[in-house]
Amino acid sequence: MLRRALQLGLGRGLLGRGLLGRGLGTHRGGSTLDQNGKVSEIKKKIQSVLPGGAWNPPYDTSYLPPEHSDVVIVGGGVIGLSVAYWLKRLEKPRGAIRVLVVERDHTYSQASTALSVGGIRQQFSVPENIQLSLFSVEFLRNINEYLAVVDDPPLDIQFNPSGYLLLASEKGAAVMESNVKVQRQEGAKVCLMSPEQLRNKFPWINTEGVALASYGMEYEGWFDPWCLLQGLRRKVQSMGVLFCHGEVTRFVSSSSHTETTSGEEVTLKRIHEVHVKIDRSLEYQPVECALVINAAGAWSGQIAELAGVGKGPPGTLQGTKLPVERRKRYVYLWHCPQGPGLETPFIVDASGAYFRREGLGNNYLGGCSPTEEEEPDPGNLEVDHDFFQDKVWPPLAQRVPAFETLKVRSAWAGYYDYNTFDQNGVVGPHPLVVNMYFATGFSGHGLQQAPAVGRAVAEMVLDGHFQTINLSPFHFSRFYLGEKVQEHNII
């Protein structure tokens, strides 16, 4: 035993000396360099077998979206970014939800937001629209409290509080009065004016044919939509939302068959993966997700079709498509040296033509919505200048005689995500594709309702029901049930 202990002791001592020696050897590079060299050789061999070195992946994948995301927002315009902002703001606890925004065009060259005229008003006929617009205006007023990023300069959205002036002929006067009543009930500050009062206030208007006018005194006007978009983008990035420059090409979903209480067979679908194809490449990344939010604006119809909305016999809920189409609208910028001055509100004539002041140099922006028969082809964004000559200029020149001499400086075209059913937005989940939420179809007033719609969708996603503004009249099922929520004051 003693011998064993001695042996052990000697062995340990030797080992200790060996260890010590090895330790000293590593510091001083002594006789144990041999063992050290072996280890590094083995390391090098392993590195050469694995591609790209120890911890570097074989190639750069930073442009690809993540493989998993809780919420995927299709569309990075003002609605999509607003939903992302409110999701991140209302989530509990902080950082709980991973949000991915997929935007096909980072330059926003065809996005409705960037090409918008930028007006905001509360003069709608549907009470929900008025509430949405009121909250959005409050958001814009306090934009530097909502979208403040530490160390970044404050946002200036260049709001012009000049108000909207809607003119009505004899036919539309009664509707206008009832609309104003609803608007006043919701808290909008609108006043009705007779033609005489109109002439006193704005002497450059020709009031022939005008029976009644409604003028928004406060909280109406126009602002810079690009600034709002960039402000939202900056804030949303600082809150940790991921962006991906790509296009959604496919949804991978699973279906389950159930029976309703009345015994009918229903097929419920659930989207599991979103295939995002990278721009200018054939590469795509399947993103596993829990929810998809369709905020694709003018292209929402195509996204909905990809998800299987509307694939079924017509007349059933399965066969009801999302009735949102791309419609092209023209905007013209002209100069009129004798035109109306600084007090010009955003004027919407009874004929549908509208214009507003732009800047201080007697420039005006305006246009007109074409009738159903004259709808231009939405395939491209080319401008038709004859439309101005035939349809926009005559009613405006009749209304404002100074506009008889004007010179068109430039023009552009943009898309409306036009809801062919009732020209109001679609907000909320689809009844059959259970994890796809819509926030689209606003037909020209999406920009002015974006902050409020974003909050409503975030509430729906996080709490399951609307908390502040009740947008249940805007549910998808109204297309199947045929219940129109018609908005009369569409420009």
Binding site: R141, E145, A148, V150, D151, Q158, F159, N160, P161, S162, G163, M217, E218, Y219, G221, G341, L342, E343, T344, R357, L360
Partner: protein, 246 residues
């Protein structure tokens, strides 16, 4: 724990850096360094920013008790005096708060005497605070010189005073631009308008001409419309001198 310690060592530095805007470059770059790396520091900075905003909101709270008990004129006067401004009741002298912010509460006795003029120069009045002023239905003269939080939205809100307001001064307000001035056309009884020294107005000379056209019976002071025109020889500039003495 080491993370939090690193943050707390700079707390006094944090509050100082937030108060002095950009004057201490070294302090701010340290702050930025910390905020970029530690969520705690970033959250703290955001919290301090929020506190500053809340301070302004607190200053602009409405005094509903005084309004119910003594009437809207007294409530408006109390609000202005609390902010550090001055009030003139009809037929009485100017009431000002002294250097310490104290003022006499005698005006609470004038129940139905309307407020005629308000001098809110330099006060931290904002959109919310205008509630108290808009209740003064017989206000004739309103001076909002150098108010840091009065912006275009506030100007859009002044229309309830259209019947009585005759004099308005907006000189030196950093946030007012020509877009807000466009909403002043509701004030049809306005006789004197001072829009001098507005840094956010892009073209002061042109703006003044447009405002004069918009309010024909109002005397517009401030931006000389010769500003912005190329300086010609001596005789020409004398001819172009402003017809209304500023």
């Amino acid at each position: 724990m080491p993370v939090w310690n690193r943050g707390t060592r700079g707390i006094r530095g944090l509050s100082r850096a937030v108060a002095l805007e950009g004057s201490q470059k070294k302090g701010r770059s340290l702050l930025q360094f910390l905020a970029d790396r530690f969520y705690d520091v970033q959250a703290l900075r955001e919290y301090l920013l929020q506190k500053q905003v809340l301070k302004v909101h607190q200053k602009n709270r409405p005094f509903t008790y005084i309004k119910e008990r003594f009437g809207p004129h007294a409530a408006g006067a109390y609000f202005i005096l609390k902010q550090g401004g001055a009030v003139k009741f009809q037929g009485k002298e100017w009431i000002r708060s002294d250097a310490h912010g104290h003022f006499s509460l005698d005006f609470l006795k004038f129940q139905a005497v309307p407020v005629e003029a308000v001098d809110a120069s330099g006060c931290a009045i904002n959109y919310q605070g205008l509630d108290s002023l808009l209740a003064l239905k017989e206000l004739q003269s309103l001076w909002l010189q150098r108010c840091p939080h009065v912006d275009d939205w506030c100007l859009g809100r002044l229309h309830p005073l259209a019947n009585s307001l005759q004099e308005l001064s907006l000189a030196g307000c950093p946030r007012i631009s020509e877009r807000g001035l466009a909403s002043l056309h509701h004030l049809r009884n306005l006789r004197r308008l001072d829009i001098s020294d507005l840094p956010a107005v892009s073209n002061p000379g042109l703006t003044r001409i447009l405002v004069e056209e918009m309010l024909p019976s109002c005397q517009v002071l401030g931006a000389d419309w010769a500003q912005g025109l190329p300086s010609g020889p001596e005789e020409q500039s004398q001819d172009r001198a402003s017809p209304i003495p500023a």
